[in-house]
C-alpha cells in the first residue's frame, strides 16, 4: 500500500467560510497519492481523546506537495485541530479508502450539504480536468457558510440556504429535481447524469428518496459515506454501513465513496451523536 504514516507540517491555516477552518499541510508523497474522495486519519492530541479523526482531503496539489483539509469544529478533536498553528506538526495516516470514480463523459452534478462541500474542491477540479460539464449544488444553513464559488473553478455553482439568505430557500436536495426529470425520463439506464454527493446521512437519504421517485438508477449516484472510524484501514470493523444484499460493507475500505446502489438505505442510519 502507498499509505503513509507521517508527520506533515501545517503551512497555512485560514477560514474558507464562516464556521470552518482550512488547514494546509506540506507532505509531497500524500499530495501526489490522493484521489479525490479519499481521506486521512489525523492524529489529535486533545485531552482524553484517543482515536484518529477521519477527514477528506479537500484538495491536493502534487506540484506544491500540499494537501488541504476543510472542517468545522464539532467536538474535542476538531477543536484541537483548529488550533494547529502554521509550523506545527500534523500526524497523517493516509490517503485511505476509495475515492470517487471520476471518468466518464456524462454531465456531472455534485451535491454537498454543510461541510460535505469540503471534498468537492478536489472532485470538481478533477472532473473539470477531465473535460466534464460540472454543476455544483451547495447547501448551507446561511449565506456566510457557503464556500465561495471561486474555490470551485469551472463548475456552475448553485446554492441553497436554510434561511434563504442566498440561492434557493430550503434544502440543497430540492435543487437536484431540476436536473432529474428532463435528463432521466425516458432513458433510465444511463445517458443522464452522474451524481456525486457528500453530506449528512439524512441529506443523502432524502436525495436517494428523490432519485428513486424519479427512477434515477442508483448506480449513477456516488455518495461519500460518513461513519465513525476506528482504524481507517479495515482492521477494526467499526465502520459498518448496511449493504443492499445484506450484511455490511466497510466505509474505510469499500468506501468512503460508493455507488448508491450498494447501500441498503432503509437500514442506513445517521451514526453520530453529541
Amino acid at each position: 500500500m502507498s499509505v503513509a504514516i507521517a508527520p506533515a507540517v501545517v503551512v497555512e491555516r485560514s477560514v474558507p467560510m464562516a464556521g470552518a477552518v482550512e488547514l494546509v499541510v506540506y507532505h509531497p508523497p500524500s499530495a501526489a497519492a490522493v484521489n479525490p474522495g479519499q481521506f486521512f486519519q489525523l492524529a489529535v492530541g486533545a485531552p482524553r481523546t484517543i482515536l484518529r479523526r477521519p477527514y477528506s482531503a479537500a484538495w491536493s496539489d502534487a506540484a506544491s506537495g500540499r494537501v488541504g483539509f476543510i472542517f468545522n469544529v464539532v467536538g474535542a478533536g476538531s477543536a484541537w485541530l483548529s488550533q494547529r498553528d502554521e509550523g506545527s506538526e500534523l500526524d497523517l495516516l493516509g490517503p485511505l479508502g476509495r475515492g470517487f470514480e471520476l471518468d466518464g463523459d456524462r454531465p456531472a452534478v455534485c451535491i454537498a450539504g454543510g461541510l460535505g462541500i469540503a471534498v468537492f474542491l478536489g472532485v470538481v477540479q478533477a472532473l473539470v480536468a477531465r473535460g466534464r460539464k460540472v454543476t455544483m449544488l451547495q447547501g448551507a444553513r446561511m449565506s456566510a457558510q457557503l464556500l465561495p464559488a471561486d474555490r470551485l473553478p469551472g463548475a456552475d455553482v448553485r446554492t441553497a440556504t436554510d434561511d434563504g439568505s442566498r440561492g434557493h430557500h430550503g434544502s440543497v436536495v430540492d435543487l437536484i429535481s431540476s436536473h432529474f426529470p428532463p435528463t432521466f425520463t425516458g432513458e433510465r439506464q444511463g445517458g443522464g447524469i452522474d451524481l456525486f454527493a457528500c453530506g449528512p446521512t439524512p441529506m443523502l437519504q432524502s436525495m436517494i428518496g428523490l432519485a428513486q421517485r424519479h427512477a434515477v438508477p442508483l448506480s449513477s449516484i456516488q455518495v461519500a459515506l460518513e461513519t465513525p472510524m476506528g482504524c481507517g484501514v479495515g482492521t477494526c470493523l467499526g465502520c459498518a454501513a448496511p449493504r443492499r444484499e445484506g450484511g455490511y460493507l466497510l466505509t474505510c475500505q469499500d468506501g468512503p465513496c460508493v455507488r448508491a446502489d450498494r447501500i441498503d438505505w432503509d437500514r442506513m442510519e445517521d451514526q453520530f451523536h453529541g
Binding site: 504514516i5 482515536l51 465513525p228 476506528g230 477494526c236 442510519e269 453529541g274
Partner: protein, 310 residues
C-alpha cells in the same frame, strides 16, 4: 550489545516467538490490512475472532470513543473458519511470522469444530480461545464461570495439537479462579485480558450510542485494571501469561512484563499508531540493556505481600 539480547518467548508446545510483542485479536484483521507494519518483526499476529460459520456482525453503531478508550460491539463479523483455513492460512504459511487464530463461538461444539478444522492446517501456529467476548449473545458465559471455562478448554484441548491460549475476561469477581481452571484443563498459556463491559449514551438522541447498547472497553483507560489482572494471574499460574490492555508505549509493555507477563499483545494502539509494535519491541530491548538484563525472564517482580490486597 544488541545481538546478545534474547527477546524470544516460549508459549509452550513448540511455539517460540522472536519478540514478546504480539498484535491483539480484532485489531489487526487477518494480517492483510494494517499499513506499514513490518510483520516479520512481530512476535505473532492474533487474528480476528473466528467462528464456525461466517458472521455479519452487529448493526452500526459498533464503536464509540470514550476518555482514553473506545467501546466496541463488532459482533464477531468474520468470514468463518472455512474461509480462514482455505484462503488465509496458505498465505500465512509463506509469512515468516506465527499466526494465532482467535476462536469464538456460542457453544462448546462450535469451538471444538473450529479447532478441529484448523488443527492440521499449515500456516496456523496456535489458537487463542476467546471465552470472553462481551459482544455476542452468551459470549461471556464461558469466561465467568470456572467450571464452564474448564469444560470448554478440555474439549478444545482434546482435538488440537496446536498451542492453546485461553483469553480471560476481566468481567469477573475473581479472574484467578478462571485462570487456574483453564490451566488445569490443559491450556498452554493464558492471555489477559479481553475488554471490560461498558456503555455510552447519546444524550442528544436519548439512546445508547451502540446498537447493542453495551460494548467492550479497550485502550489506555483500562491499562491499570488489566495490569492488576495480569499481576494476580501471573502469581497464581505456572503457564505463561500474555498481558493485554491499553498498551501504547514501551513503558506500558514493561509494566506488564514486570507484572509477570511473558509477552504482551497490542490492541487499540494499532489503530492509532500502526508503528507502535515495533517501537515497543525496540523500547523493551533498550530497557533490558540499560538494566543489564539479557532476557525477558529476568524481568518479573513479585508481590511484597502474600495477599495482594492485605
Amino acid at each position: 550489545m544488541a545481538e546478545r539480547l534474547d527477546l524470544t518467548v516460549d508459549l509452550g508446545r513448540g511455539l517460540r516467538l522472536r519478540s514478546p510483542v504480539l498484535v491483539a485479536s480484532g485489531t489487526f484483521g487477518y494480517g492483510f490490512d494494517a499499513p506499514q507494519v513490518d510483520r516479520i518483526a512481530l512476535g505473532a499476529i492474533v487474528t480476528k475472532g473466528t467462528t464456525l460459520r461466517p458472521r455479519e456482525g452487529n448493526a452500526p453503531n459498533r464503536i464509540a470513543e470514550t476518555p482514553s478508550g473506545m467501546l466496541n460491539a463488532i459482533g464477531l463479523q468474520n468470514p468463518g473458519v472455512d474461509h480462514v483455513a482455505r484462503v488465509y492460512a496458505p498465505v500465512w504459511a509463506s509469512w515468516n511470522v506465527p499466526v494465532i487464530v482467535n476462536v469464538a463461538g456460542d457453544a462448546i461444539d462450535e469451538y471444538v469444530a473450529v479447532a478441529e478444522r484448523l488443527d492440521s492446517v499449515p500456516g496456523i501456529a496456535g489458537l487463542e480461545l476467546n471465552i470472553s467476548c462481551p459482544n455476542v449473545a452468551n459470549g461471556l458465559q464461558f469466561g465467568v464461570d470456572p467450571d464452564q471455562a474448564a469444560k470448554l478448554t478440555s474439549a478444545v484441548r482434546a482435538v488440537t495439537r496446536l498451542t492453546l491460549i485461553v483469553k480471560l475476561t476481566p468481567n469477573v469477581t475473581d479472574v484467578v479462579a478462571i485462570a487456574r481452571a483453564v490451566e488445569d484443563a490443559g491450556a498452554d498459556a493464558v492471555s489477559a485480558i479481553n475488554t471490560y463491559v461498558g456503555m455510552a449514551i447519546d444524550v442528544r438522541r436519548r439512546r445508547p450510542v451502540l446498537s447493542r447498547e453495551s460494548g467492550g472497553l479497550s485502550g489506555p483507560a483500562i491499562k491499570p485494571l488489566a495490569l492488576h489482572a495480569v499481576w494476580q494471574v501471573a502469581q497464581a499460574v505456572r503457564i505463561p501469561v500474555i498481558g493485554i490492555g491499553g498498551i501504547m508505549t514501551p513503558g506500558d509493555a514493561l509494566e506488564f512484563l514486570l507484572a509477570g507477563a511473558v509477552a504482551v499483545q497490542l490492541g487499540t494502539v494499532n489503530y492509532i499508531r500502526p508503528q507502535a509494535a515495533h517501537e515497543v519491541h525496540e523500547g523493551i530491548a533498550v530497557y533490558l540493556q540499560e538494566h543489564g538484563l539479557r532476557n525477558l525472564r529476568e524481568l518479573p517482580i513479585r508481590s511484597a505481600s502474600v495477599l495482594t490486597h492485605a
